[in-house]
């Protein structure tokens, strides 16, 4: 019935949880990647904790409400959310061997992700240009570390995604390429979940 269950081991023997033999490669790969993503959440939790503790230590410098533009943040949020949506549609299309739809949704996924990174880099450049760089105060150090780490994740995700599109183009939708695409879409959704935390804690709770 599903690609996953019939890939190497018949569905009736692959059920994990201690009975009936090992699970299929795809289930093991995605589970391992899920563990990696959870460890990434733990990394971010340290940065969130640092920001929460240092948010009002502005050392006489500018505070959040003076620096943040909620309109830009809203556009960034929508870019990332729609990018996550099209990435999910792309993964579904790839599983159903609809290569055309996969490429189409990939274009949207990449452009929306790139728009997010562009807006964030512009926001950082404006802040640094106004003398509010990470060296100004503990608040800004924590801000640039937290938001910058998320932005670095998105940027590396975009590079990974280009590499995945090239793999689909060169190798076609083989099982191991599909597994890598599945891992990518998990990564992309996870980054969107982290962004919900950034949006809420940094931008909205810091708003006047």
């Amino acid at each position: 019935m599903t690609i996953a269950a019939t890939e190497f081991i018949p569905a009736e023997t692959a059920r994990g949880r201690g009975g009936g033999g090992p699970a299929s490669t795809r289930i093991v790969v995605a589970y391992g990647f899920w563990i990696f993503l959870l460890s990434d959440f733990v990394l971010f939790s340290g940065l969130f904790a640092a920001y929460a503790v240092l948010a009002d230590r502005t050392a006489g410098g500018p505070s959040g409400p003076q620096l943040f533009h909620l309109r830009t943040v809203f556009i960034e949020t929508m870019c990332l959310l729609l990018s996550s949506y099209t990435a999910g549609l792309g993964a579904l299309s790839a599983e159903r061997r609809r290569v055309g739809y996969f490429y189409l949704s990939s274009v949207f996924t990449f452009l929306l992700g790139a728009a997010f990174v562009f807006l964030e880099v512009r926001e950082f450049a404006d802040m640094i240009g106004a003398g509010a760089g990470p060296w100004r105060s503990a608040f800004l150090s924590a801000f640039f570390t937290l938001v910058g780490t998320h932005g670095a994740h998105v940027t590396s995700g975009l590079i990974w995604f280009l590499y995945m599109i090239a793999q689909v183009y060169v190798k076609g939708l083989r099982p191991h390429v599909l597994r890598r695409l599945l891992c990518f879409s998990l990564f992309w959704h996870a980054l969107d979940i982290v962004w919900i935390g950034v949006m809420t804690l940094v931008y909205l709770m810091g708003a006047p």
Binding site: A11, V42, L92, H189, D192, I196, M199, T200, L204, M205
Partner: protein
């Protein structure tokens, strides 16, 4: 599969095992709910719709709701037996994240309060 209706296969996060239309539909429902939650967050933060001291709580509730929407509709984590391993791993991750964030805020606040007391005492 009818012979094995009591056997539950493991599931991977991010994959839905129903028929194609349901999958696309589930993503679209998730997108709609996430957009509603996002707009609600921005409205709550910028207006006095909520009792002002309650805004922070409202924002946290909306954030958790949206994270739940993402987990269910985008990552397809459900409560079924085929999801046990994924949910257990997630529960452990949530525990660690909670300990790190709440623990840090708690400890540093406590330290901060004690520092204030000391400096006030020192000036007397």
């Amino acid at each position: 599969m009818d012979r094995h209706e009591h056997v539950f296969d493991d599931r991977t996060p991010g994959v839905e095992e129903h028929e194609p239309t349901a999958s696309y539909l589930s993503y679209s429902v998730g997108l709609g709910l996430a957009i509603v939650a996002t707009i609600a967050s921005f409205v709550v933060a910028q207006t006095d719709l909520l009792w002002p001291p309650g805004i922070a709580v409202g924002l946290v509730v909306l954030a958790f709701a949206q994270i739940g929407v993402h987990l269910v509709f985008f990552l397809h984590l459900g409560s079924g037996p085929d999801n046990t391993n994924n949910i257990l791993a997630l529960a452990f991750g949530v525990l660690i994240v909670f300990l790190v964030i709440v623990g840090s805020i708690w400890i540093i606040d406590n330290l901060h309060a004690n520092m204030m007391e000391m400096s006030a005492h020192a000036t007397q």
